[in-house]
Subunit: 468 residues, 2 copies
């Protein structure tokens, strides 16, 4: 497990530094859990109950827990105390969860302000309101809702501040709600709020086969006379070439800029970039006068080297630092969009609410529909994540807490190790294989890093921090 | 006249270096004229006519000519050969011309790619089609049109490429056409095409008393529930405080950012900056997440030091150079808009055409109306420019080629000098005074520079390169 050590600048958790110690002492037992709703905390806070020796055991739920920053084997399905509902919060019984590239970054500790491990992963879910906190208005027990919490979504229950909870429209399934909300929220803001797209214009969509990519292509169909360029890895072209309204499908990793210029010599009106890094220069050069370049995430930050996320990111961006004088000369605009920061750190709630409403209305009118790649049991999370990491998904990857995990293979995991990971034992066959792969790679950190780089460069997908 | 020497990096024209020589040899006589339609050129190109000694004299027209880069006294109304109409061009008999801050910059040689002096000034005019060049479609002799040529608009006749000529709507006066087109074109693109303004948002308008500023406030009235902040110099507040729909009038040069924060603690959605320089930092900080900062010109470049336009501009901007990573973190966008480059150097014609059409439609519906500050004879150009330079105008400053110049004062200009400036002799009293002021300043270049700096800092107005 020291594989993750050379890749993170953040101080490695002590449980990570000595794997043996950590495995002997499961996170939920060693009191290091940072979830605010742990049974321990509740008991301590409640002075009356403290004295009672025979208190009833705290109710538990299943949850996908990140035990340490790093590879897939750091993720376990565990029993965790059920969360309580605080003032202004809504407690939700989770029926469906969505995965995004952001989760892969969180797993590696590659986004700012991640909690200390262990913590429950997940940024999006749908379910039924189980309980209402003090001061919450407009929600009732039994309401079907979708929620965009900061972590903790991949569990049977989650308590979420009201401002991050949205009522589902009549007739929408939980899977559809969890699949549609983040992707179309991002896509709608990019295209209309920030991109100002209008009839007759041209747009280039990166990672056109990813969750946001497919949401973008659907929303584009509502604008007459758009020219849509989609960049995706070759392996996705077969699926993408029909039925998605992409006029010009381009291959990721090739000189697609020249291809665009052949069709539209003066460039494109809107360039939607979720790759970052070198794409910035290419993207900026490809936009027309009065054109807009929007960077809404950077999968390069993850799939490339990840030794020092912020250091690396800044050096990448340095090349592309832009003078407003150049923007003035060029008649161009550069915009950043980061849903996570907007939701959790900035005052973006009114736009979020308005846009979620618009998205649900479009769904009700039958104008958009979520594209779900696959749905997995919580216990199959590693396999689900691996698929995203390999950029093999087309559309959204989902979790269903009620779903039965894949049957274990006849010859299960390796020796003593498996027996200690009691919460992980339901893991499916493919995931076990992946774990074996990661364990092998773990013997040489460099090797795994190279492996992931190849994955990142060869693949394509919902590659952004925001969402997928 | 060496006053302009220390301020321009561009090699000073020889006529400028030795004023005596220049005055003895009027630009139209020394063969240095760079207008493409000079009688000399035509004659040379026409070999047959070359032999004819008694050829009819080329028809002449009155035009506002910049004889050398520098102060107001470098501008003369002169007789120039009438332009011929080339392929793809429309010859227009000019009935009204508009002034913009851009003209002040051109006078000083402070915008890129200015022609060599002498040349005819002016970027906007309205008039009647006098002749149609080969290959021109959709225009007929007698059509009332507005045109946005690159220079040469301030004359009795101008020949303009068809793509820069727009038919006026029924019932619009020439003065209104020349006053409305550039300002509302800029304002419409800023607000809707680039700013994506929508109901419920807030916008901060710099130089709210200038031509574009007043166009912006008018267009803002069409969007429900906008909050409008207007920045203008104190002297304009009396006029601006009523009837322009500005909710919060702020004083230029004060800490208006704090004032905005008092009303809207989270900032504004759209910041329209035509001042540049230090405003960049303030403006960027004041926009909300998902907000847009648009820089559409920089009067600071003119009214501050002007020793080296581009060198200075870049050093100003350097402070504000922005990393896309910061935009991504902040959820913000920065956009540049430069109408002149869009019209003449970039392929922006389709947006221009569409927007001019929208603007004319709004005018026809009575939703917008031009604000004209004052109209002047060609011969009173110095006085008109001085008013803009002092930022004393509220709305557009216009020229009317048919207008009689102001009567000369009873005690005219100073001695021998006046008699040489034969084309300038109709100049009004105030302009003559201004010339005297400039001549005094000319004895100490530094002095004039300081004087203009004071003007720039104390005043306000349609302060941008693009237009006013």
């Amino acid at each position: 497990m020291p594989d993750s050590q050379p890749k993170e600048e953040k101080p490695a958790p002590t449980t990570e530094a000595k794997p043996e110690e950590k495995e002997a002492k499961a996170p939920e037992e060693n009191g290091e859990c940072n979830d605010k709703d742990t049974a321990e905390k509740q008991t301590e806070e409640n002075g009356e109950k403290k004295a009672a020796v025979e208190q009833p055991p705290a109710k538990e739920m299943r949850a996908v827990v990140l035990t340490a920053f790093g590879g897939l084997k750091s993720i376990k399905v565990m029993k965790k105390p059920e969360p309580s509902v605080a003032e202004g919060e809504v407690l939700i019984r989770v029926k469906a969860c969505g995965l995004g590239f952001q989760d892969l970054m969180a797993r590696r500790g590659a986004i700012e302000a991640t909690p200390k491990t262990p913590f429950i992963l997940g940024f999006e879910c749908a379910g039924e309101v189980e309980e209402i906190g003090e001061g919450v208005e407009g929600f009732a027990v039994g309401d079907k809702v979708v929620a965009l919490p900061e972590y903790r979504a991949w569990a049977e229950l989650v308590s979420v501040p009201q401002r991050l909870v949205f009522k589902m429209p009549e007739g929408m399934s939980f899977i559809d709600a969890a699949a549609i909300t983040t992707n179309f929220l991002v896509a709608h803001i990019l295209l209309f709020e920030l991109g100002g797209i209008s009839p007759g214009k041209s747009v280039l969509i990166h990672s056109a086969g990813g969750g946001v990519g497919l949401a973008l292509t659907q929303l584009c169909q509502m604008v007459p006379d758009l020219t849509i360029f989609g960049v995706a890895s070759k392996s996705k072209h077969e699926v993408l070439k029909d039925g998605h309204g992409i006029h010009h499908l381009l291959e990721r990793g090739t000189d697609y800029v020249s291809e665009v210029r052949k069709v539209s010599p003066e460039g494109v009106d809107l360039f939607l970039d979720c790759m970052g890094g070198e794409e910035c220069n290419r993207g900026y050069a490809l936009i027309k006068p009065l054109g807009k370049y929007i960077i809404y995430g950077s999968s390069n930050m993850v799939s490339g080297e990840s030794k020092s996320f912020f250091g690396l990111a800044r050096s990448w961006w340095q090349v592309d630092k832009i003078s407003p004088l150049k923007l003035f000369d060029d008649n161009k605009g550069v915009t950043g969009f980061n849903l996570r920061r907007l939701l959790h750190l900035q005052a973006g709630t009114s736009t979020i609410n308005a846009t979620v409403e618009k998205v649900f209305k479009l769904w009700s009118e039958g104008k958009i529909k979520p594209v779900v790649d696959s749905t997995w049991a919580l216990e199959d999370i590693s396999e689900a994540m691996q698929k995203m990491q390999d950029r093999k998904n087309i559309g959204k990857v989902m979790l269903d807490p009620a779903m039965e995990p894949k049957p274990k293979p006849a010859t299960p995991a390796k020796g003593a190790k498996g027996s200690k990971d009691k919460d992980d034992k339901k893991k499916g066959g493919d995931a076990a294989k992946d774990e074996a792969k990661e364990n092998n790679a773990a013997s040489s950190g460099k090797e795994e890093e190279q492996n992931e780089e190849v994955n990142g460069e060869a693949g394509d997908g919902d590659a952004k921090e925001n969402a997928s």
